[in-house]
Symmetry: C2
Subunit: 273 residues, 2 copies
């Protein structure tokens, strides 16, 4: 257990008053609070409530204590005590409303596009409601994505095989993009599909599609297809073999760090290569 070392005024670390807290026990005050804050700032509500959803599917959630988040961009999240995914939600773009129906405050999130959807939250008991301002995702940086893996492979063609030359990355052929495209030592065209995670049959099929497209476009069966991934399921491996497609193991988990070094040393993002 690390010991606490006090430095500087504690006020700089703990500010007790959030932007605005619902203090009154009057339902009318709560209603006014929601109408003033929803859609303008982040609103958190801990409440006993029941929820109905109608839209792409439909759902009901019986009464219970949930945490509601209304973001200023029109996002709604309803969280229970477990799981990462919210039990109910709406993506950005909703309009929020607060009204009284059958003697209870009802919060509604609505949107029309791309499909009409409604989440209706009937509050029974508000434990807690507060609104505050959050910052956005400016400056967020993620490394290690498939994009980075592609860029790394493009710099290290010998990881594919000796004499391999890359022609293009994310080649936008009229029939769809393929991850990497090049030529082997014997001058044969090679389509490469790269995956940052273990590949299954669906990923093998994705490669198959690209290879077939390319063979059709080139009027040639002399197009190789290689699936590059850190691992592959046994069924997918067999599937590839039957189709005369290839698999090369590249342990991206281990290569990510060196790739990161390249990124740091280089001027540009690795993914921009």
């Amino acid at each position: 257990m690390t010991l606490w070392i006090e430095v500087g005024p504690p006020h700089s670390r703990l500010v007790a008053e959030p932007a605005r807290t619902l203090e009154s026990r009057e339902p009318a005050a709560a209603l006014e609070f929601f109408r003033a804050e929803l859609g303008k700032r982040l609103v958190q509500v801990a409440a006993r409530c029941s929820i109905e959803y109608h839209g792409r599917a439909q759902s009901t959630l019986p009464s219970g204590a949930r945490l509601l988040l209304f973001k200023p961009d029109g996002t709604l999240l309803v969280h229970t005590s477990t799981k990462l995914k919210p039990v109910n939600w709406q993506p950005p773009g909703c309009s929020f409303s607060a009204d009284v129906e059958h003697e209870a405050i009802v919060l509604v999130a609505r949107r029309d596009k791309p499909v009409k959807e409604t989440v209706r939250i009937a509050l029974e008991e508000i434990q807690f409601a507060v609104s505050l301002d959050l910052d956005g995702e400016e400056g967020f940086d993620l490394a290690g994505s498939e994009d980075d893996m592609q860029a790394f492979l493009a710099r290290q063609p010998q990881l594919i095989e000796p004499g391999f030359k890359f022609w293009a990355r994310e080649r936008a052929s009229g029939r769809g993009p393929m991850d990497l495209y090049g030529e082997d030592a014997l001058g044969r065209r090679v389509v490469i599909e790269c995956k940052r995670r273990a590949a299954g049959v669906a990923e093998a099929d994705q490669l198959r599609r690209y290879v077939e497209r390319e063979r059709g476009a080139r009027q040639s069966t002399r197009v190789r297809g290689i699936l590059v991934a850190p691992a592959i399921s046994s069924k997918a491996r067999k599937y590839l073999a039957d189709l005369e497609l290839e698999y090369i193991e590249v342990d991206w988990e281990k290569l990510r760090k060196p790739a990161s070094e390249l990124l740091k040393s280089g001027q540009r993002r690795l993914a921009d290569w």
Copy 2:
């Protein structure tokens, strides 16, 4: 705007005191609060902080005001002012810790399986911290999923074509999972893949896999394949045609309601059919 109608004691609707709020401005108190509450109850923290993630990928988020949620099941969510998905997160199963590093409180979420992952949150200013108990997802009911669509089609084989007979619905077949399996009026085997949303090439390929598997198992090319969906992309339609596979349009959006009626009238869940 609906008018407010006051009924019953307001106390039943608004309880000002949540389970436990961090009131003290002392950093030591905050540390103690986190250590007492993390992993035991839902902990919400609104704070200015910077975040680092290392695991399947790696990311950094510069200092800013974010909302942190620590669930008792070991789930972490970090939300900004926009978007549905958290900017950082950890799925259930993490262990949480609170420590002091370089004169700042640092909250860490760690897990080892399936891969080693760490989210490190360096707090700079706590706007707000509270812990409370939430209920789980008990009683949550969702209707309109693909499972329901399958069940509905199985009851309405004429939606596929006259004389169609279903043999089996999904899973548990030794030859691999396919959504629906049956026989047409001419006695030919038919594999059906059904999608609740618009289908693309990947979905067409999924059907193709199942049909090929079935043809292989039956040593027969006389196996039809039908993709059932509310819509299909033009490329996917062409792709299916080239493979001599079929597409049938079923507007699940419109059929969901009648299907729901069936569900209500029946004893069992539609999906159990």
